[in-house]
Amino acid sequence: MEKILEVNNLHVSFDTFAGEVQAVRGVNFHLNKGETLAIVGESGSGKSVTSKAVMRLIPNPPGRIKEGEIKFGDRDLAQLSEKEMQKIRGSEISMIFQDPMTSLNPTMTIGKQIMEGLVKHQNMSKSEAKERAIELLKLVGIPNAEGRVNEFPHQFSGGMRQRVVIAIALACNPRVLIADEPTTALDVTIQAQILELLNDLQEKMGTSIIFITHDLGVVANIADRVAVMYAGKIVETGTVDEIFYNPQHPYTWGLLGSMPSLDSTDEELIAIPGSPPDLLDPPKGDAFAPRNPYAMKIDTEMEPPLFKISDTHYAATWLLHEKAPKVEPPAAIKKRMQGMAPSEPIIGAKDGGKNV
């Protein structure tokens, strides 16, 4: 499997008046060619910061990449100059943002907004770029593309705008697409359409996708592999099947337990108690310990390393240590894990186990 992007020991901090906020504290992950990696976590877990760091879009000041490397081919994106980065942004790595209502320039026609990247990266003339823009609009499923290319963002609905945003991101056939919660601001039916579109486009164009979300339901639909983030670290990573059917980290259990499902009405939703730690002063030991009902003494003293469960599955919890007591996930979550049968087709779902 060819690694297209590899992030090693990434630290991102923000210097605020109160002190240094360590938003990302040593993240490692890689992205294989043609796959979709989902980064999951609650608000403030550092998933957006990680993805913005890959694009080098963290505003500096106050943000800075403190340490670590972002290997893209033979280049380290963390070390590139702004000029070199501009050549990569939009042409080799693209990004889709959360809110389509605000991520398009209100005073520029969508055609021009799509054309900008083409003119910049592919040296197209205006008329070539316009033709390509119409093609892209058709590709992302916008009817009457020839007419709509000259319209302004306010003339589009939310779902249609997100399609335009996707068209902008895919304009130059990027090798990596980072989707930062692209469906969060959309209603559920539109969400499904956008996910389906992303799946389709990935098949057609062979793009690798980093999909950032807090919604595990979305993950099941789109991802090949999952990385679960908590307090600026990846606490568990594995294939979709491994994360959904054999989760090992108590935080992953918590996420699965708090995910509503349509299948049954008698289950209760289990909330994770407490709130994430203050990253201005990250706790010693396992950052999840204060909220973890299975926490042991060592959790408050030492950070757990990543324990290997299989070649693709790792989790950072002391529960996997050989001396730890054997702990089973809560019954409700177990039941839920069984409920998610692998054969169950969800809209646009693909074979999540193909990389195992």
Partner: protein, 309 residues
């Protein structure tokens, strides 16, 4: 769009008539008549003059006559200048005022935008603070103080520029600076705030994510969006300019409309007061309409119904 402008013009006419009526009655509340401060006139002559100009008629009759003349385009004649036409007087006075007003507006807007953009891009730097100090000074120091200081230093002490009067470009420099100071200050402050606001918007991140250079991001995506609210303040700013000109024209002895306006009030020259007031009103009403139209051009979201482009 055409229909919209048509409707606007009708409401402008109504506004104009209301202003004309209000000014007329307010003016009638001024003490005295145009002739009672002229010592050489006898009682009989004053009565005769009042009779001649219809000033002995009851006020409603005077109002009716005035409005009738106004609607047929007749602004009347000056009481002080041998019955010369008001429109002629305005015509010969408008040149310096318009020149000064436009020059101040253009220069002030360009410098203001420039300072505001620089301040926002160099946020929290020396340039930013420097610009804001200039802006606060420009707003808080009255322009007649600036005018006086300039006359003293540039005109008298260093003899670089003519102290007053109206005779070529050199004579316009000091009055322009005095009038433009408030324009520069207001626009710089607004532009800085708007630029900072726009720079924090998601679509700026989208533009950066496309790989555009920071110059392209600023020019294509930031400035246009930031200037939308600036257009809104242009209306009031132009009014400020007009009133500012009144004082500045007096200080620099410029034969403009403002100077005429002030003198006409001092001498109760009713037709001139009416004429100049109405002239300024029309100017203001037209500026507001232009601002609204400009708004639609620069911001497609408020392009008006029926104006599908």
């Amino acid at each position: 769009m055409g229909r919209y402008i048509g409707g606007r013009i009708i409401s402008m006419l109504i506004t104009f008539l209301i202003i004309a009526s209000l000014t007329f009655f307010l003016m009638k509340l001024l003490p005295g008549t145009p002739f009672n401060n002229q010592d050489k006139l006898t009682e009989t002559q004053i009565v005769q003059l009042n009779d001649k100009y219809g000033l002995n008629d009851p006020v409603p009759v005077q109002y009716f006559n005035y409005m009738k003349n106004l609607l047929s385009g007749d602004l009347g004649v000056s009481f002080q200048q041998d019955g010369r036409e008001v429109s002629t007087i305005i015509g010969e006075r408008i040149g310096p005022s318009a020149y000064l007003g436009l020059q101040s507006l253009v220069v002030g807007t360009i410098i203001g935008l420039f300072l505001g953009i620089i301040a926002a891009l160099k946020h929290n730097s020396f340039l930013d603070y420097g610009t804001m100090v200039i802006a606060v000074l420009g707003i808080s120091i009255p322009n007649f103080v600036i005018a006086g200081l300039m006359q003293y230093w540039f005109g008298v002490k260093w003899q670089l520029l003519p102290v007053a009067y109206w005779d070529g470009f050199a004579y316009t420099i000091m009055p322009t600076v005095a009038i433009a100071s408030i324009v520069v200050a207001t626009i710089a402050r607004f532009m800085r705030t708007e630029m900072l606001e726009v720079l924090g918007q998601d679509y700026i991140t989208t533009a950066k994510a496309k790989g555009l250079s920071s110059t392209a991001v600023v020019i294509r995506h930031t400035i246009r969006n930031a200037s939308i609210p600036i257009i809104t303040i242009m209306g009031p700013l132009v009014v400020g300019l007009m009133t500012g000109t009144l004082v500045i024209e007096q200080i620099f002895v410029i034969p403009g409309l403002g100077e005429k306006f002030v003198n006409s009030i001092l001498t109760n020259d009713f037709p001139i007061i009416m004429g100049t007031t109405l002239f300024f009103s029309i100017l203001f009403i037209v500026v507001i309409l232009l601002v609204d139209i400009l708004y639609g051009i620069i911001d497609p979201r408020i392009r008006l119904a029926g104006g599908k482009s």
